[in-house]
């Protein structure tokens, strides 16, 4: 088969650090190619080089057999290479059609840009993606998975033959993932070469025709999908395999109720009349699709958003309505979006870990006591940090997340809520976080885990709650349920 893209011996250094060393990648027309590897293995760097965002220090890129050298994104696009990055890069307050054609050539008429034609052409592209929205609608008014499709539509507006998707599913719920994959398959059948990065094993295996594995910035292996399974990938991705997940054994008698939510209704109507409870030492999973109102619910529980009605009780005592008082009552939240909601990027690791420790405003912070707390948690969670005074942004994603979890635990909560706590974290760190949660539950902490990954929910939950369109649609005991029950409740079938 004619190769479409051939990258040979690609190397890239950031100062003294090798991000890529002699990596090869070959793409054929009409295939879905997954690049697998842990965080920091160089996957994103490789994609960015192919997309012209970064320039390699060494190595050659050929497209359709011709050597090319991309100095910027524009050049790559002119060769039909487009990247859809992890963070959406749409202009939120412009319309869908305007976004689709942003930076592309639009037809002109006497008065300037011909918007009628732009809209017509964008509707054609959107139809191809099975996205039926008003082309005049503001992008910010669309749910996130539709915004993702708009981004892909933008890639298709130029003659894209190589589409690079950097973690396209990280913020999508299972049904949306399936919809996205249908689009990807259709594009593949149209002859587009698609490169994907994903952290979800089952997804990689479901969609990919070929795999390339990177580890420690080096090329490890490449193979077509025949003979590739989970073990094949893990063997190559990680040197030290994560420990086999220990199946949770439910311990005897039901414990006492720690947190009780009664008839909670959000102010903006994102969720209505939610009631449930969590027992001591129990890990409860909260499943659902993106946009089901789970994040809004847990943020309202901790007092970050206003509520219309309903109450939350901890140990039968009604709790307050602002983040400080809920924290004092013993509820702590690990938010879903680390960059936007958890870390203060320019603040030191130390201060980030201690951010939920409060005192009288004018009080002198006791360095000695702080030092003790910080050292204790860094050791306990095995947080890899060289300099506690360096900004937290200098840590890897997994270690940042551990700092955030430690922050929540410093105040000794009775209930810990984690919202998509393992999103975008590599497998090793994920396994470590699961282990931490299991230990905490064993010590009697009540834990609520909000996750869009069904495997994650099944891996650690004793009980599973499911939300659909702002309502609680199922409360299922771990020992009796099947994955299909959760999926149907999440999509509203059981209502």
């Amino acid at each position: 088969m004619q190769t479409r893209v051939s990258m040979q011996g690609i190397s890239k250094r950031f100062d003294a650090v090798h991000a890529l060393t002699g990596v090869n990648l070959t793409l054929y027309p009409g295939e879905v190619h997954t690049i697998a590897g842990e965080n920091g293995s160089g996957k994103s760097t490789l994609l960015k080089i192919l997309a012209g965002v970064l320039q390699p220090d060494a190595g050659a890129i050929e497209i359709d057999g011709k050597a090319v050298e991309f100095t910027d994104i524009r050049m790559a696009m002119n060769h039909g290479v487009t990247m859809v990055s992890q963070e959406l890069s749409l202009v939120p307050h412009l319309g869908v059609a305007e976004n689709v054609f942003l930076g592309h050539n639009q037809t002109r008429n006497t008065f300037g840009i011909d918007w009628k034609d732009t809209e017509k052409r964008s509707v054609e592209i959107l139809n191809r993606l099975n996205l039926h929205v008003n082309p005049k609608a503001e992008v910010s008014s669309l749910p996130q998975h539709q915004q993702q499709l708009v981004e892909i539509a933008r890639a298709l507006a130029s003659e894209t033959r190589v589409l690079l998707l950097d973690e396209p599913t990280s913020s999508l719920a299972p049904a949306e993932v399936e919809a996205l994959f249908n689009v990807v398959r259709q594009l593949r059948d149209d002859g587009v070469s698609i490169v994907m990065i994903s952290h979800r094993m089952s997804e990689m295996l479901a969609i990919s025709d070929r795999f390339t594995v990177l580890r420690d910035s080096k090329f490890i292996d490449t193979s077509s999908k025949d003979g590739v399974d989970e073990n094949w990938l893990i063997d190559r991705m990680v040197l030290n395999k994560p420990k086999e997940a220990t199946k949770k054994i439910k311990s005897g008698e039901p414990q006492k109720i720690v947190m009780e939510v009664k008839g909670l209704t959000g102010f903006a109507g994102d969720f209505a009349d939610i009631s449930f409870n969590i027992h001591q030492g129990e890990i409860v999973g909260l499943a659902g699709l993106a946009g089901a109102g789970r994040t809004e619910l847990v943020e309202a529980i901790v007092g970050a958003h206003a509520r219309r009605s309903g109450d939350v009780y901890v140990n039968t005592k009604k709790i307050g309505h602002n983040t400080r008082s809920t924290m004092n009552s013993g509820i702590a939240l690990v938010p879903d979006d680390r960059r936007m909601k958890s870390t203060i990027h320019d603040m030191s690791v130390r201060d980030n870990l201690l951010l939920a420790v409060h005192g009288r405003p004018a009080k002198n912070r006791s360095r000695k006591k702080e030092e003790k707390i910080v050292n204790e948690w860094v050791a306990k969670f095995n947080i890899k940090v060289k300099n506690l005074d360096a900004p937290i942004s200098s840590l890897s994603g997994g270690n940042q997340q551990k700092v955030v979890i430690a922050r929540c635990l410093v105040s000794k909560p009775k209930v810990l809520i984690l919202d998509e706590a393992t999103r975008g974290i590599d497998l090793g760190a994920k396994a470590e976080i699961y282990e931490i949660l299991r230990n905490l539950a064993r010590e009697g902490l009540a834990i609520l885990v909000v996750s869009s990954e069904i495997t994650e929910i099944f891996e650690i939950s004793d009980r599973v709650l499911v939300m659909h369109a702002g309502e609680l649609t199922a409360d299922l005991d771990r020992s009796t349920i099947k994955e299909s029950d959760v999926v149907s409740a999440a999509t509203g079938v059981l209502v």
Partner: protein, 332 residues
Amino acid sequence: MKNPFKLPTISSLPAWFGILVLEIMLLIAMAILQPTFFSGSNLSNIVRSSAVPIILGIGMTFTILTAGIDLSVGSVLAFTGIVLSGLITHMPRLVAVILTIALVTIIVGGINGFLIGKLGLNSFVITLGSLGIFRGISYLVTNGTTRSMDTGKLINTLGDGNVGPIPGPFLVVIFISIISIYALKSTYFGRDVYAVGGNEFAAKLAGIFTSRVKMTVYFISALLAALAGVMQVGRLQAASPTIGAGLELTVVAGVLLGGTRLSGGVGSITGTVIGLLFLQTVSNSLTIQGVSSYWQQVVTGVLLGAAVLFDRIRIEYSGRSKRGEESNVTKE
């Protein structure tokens, strides 16, 4: 591969280091060019004239650290003088000073703090409004005229006089700086200020009373503007509604030169003091060299542009070594 004699890298130096180097270079250049520059009277003149901007700048640093801004400080400076001129004839001077500062802090801090901190309105718009309001009131009350005052020893010492051999305003600057540095570095309030400016929602989720923190910084800014207003009266022996017009921009420039980031969360009092001292030295040097004062504005503008450019380069540089640090850590 650790080299004990390694020079510190650019990224490990504080943001204000470059300005400090420039300040020293400027002092050396002036010493060579103009022997009169290092006369005692000129040096103390630099210190005296930079005291008011520095005090305002310290307040500005607090607001900018929370990702806000207080554009009203120049107007409040004038407004304070007018209030003081009204009160001083009716009561002992010390009481008048305290009452003036208290009143101005409560009125200005209350308005700015409530609207920005409590209601969450945009700080630029709100303080642009108070800039107009307090300047306008000052003109209305005085009909645009300057009021001379017999300020007495206390006010004069604060703004212009000496305590022993040391200029009074210098002592005020040192005192306020030390308190502010302590507040930002060692108290929970200081930590909360950086957190709110760095990531407000994250700060809120961590249990920080973000609106209270924001209200407080506008009170601090108003308090320091009132103090600076009293010092200004001491220096001029008069209250004028025109005083400090446009000063807020010089102050913002000095704060940014000192490495405080306009987007909040990064910056220091030390940087602000050095930044404003540098601007004052530049303007004094140009004056002594007989350069038109119009040029001083051009120079300030160029410096500000250069400083922001330099800071960007520094961030890029440190960003790169940070990424390096990350992958080292992952490999361990």
